[in-house]
Subunit: 101 residues, 2 copies
């Protein structure tokens, strides 16, 4: 069972991640990515899906053509956990490789 981040841990994580916005109500982090077109956007999603499946931790996300919006939280923990921070880091690395803006 993974634990929810403390206030101090959450602040440190958000500072490190930089581009993710915290939604306090649901204690989730959200980021939107824009790619060249649908093909690149879905390629990005495919890489994230493989990472998520491997980690056993999945995003809530939406896509419209070249835009992908991702929300991360840990339902079992009732909010943000280290799993979300780790997945966010992995997502950011993929996004950089795929030329997200």
């Amino acid at each position: 069972m993974v634990e929810r981040l403390s206030d101090a841990e959450r602040k440190a994580a958000l500072l490190e991640l930089g581009n993710w916005r915290h939604e306090a109500g649901e204690d989730r982090i959200v980021r939107e990515f824009v790619f060249a077109d649908f093909r690149v956007a879905f390629g990005f999603m495919t890489q994230v899906a493989l990472q998520a499946e491997k980690a056993g931790h999945h995003p809530d996300w939406s896509n419209s053509y070249n835009r992908v919006r991702i929300g991360l939280t840990t339902h079992d923990a009732g909010g943000l956990s280290e799993k979300d921070v780790a997945l966010a880091r992995a997502i950011d690395a993929v996004a950089t490789r795929m030329g997200a803006r």
Copy 2:
């Protein structure tokens, strides 16, 4: 340039599709699919992505674990067009193959 469906055409299309709900405000059709798990849900999305890319017509969609929600409209036509009906038919066929409920 594809044309928006007439009222009569839209009614006939909705009757044929059966499981799609019409959202009048944006003149779009929406359906939610539930699969066994994330792996199957994302496999479904991958097949739909390939169909959409081939058709040059893309869904607005979201995914949360085993659930996929899809909205279809044709922005260039200002509402539903034959492109949406064709993509909805293709999506339904994939969903059936993938055991959607």
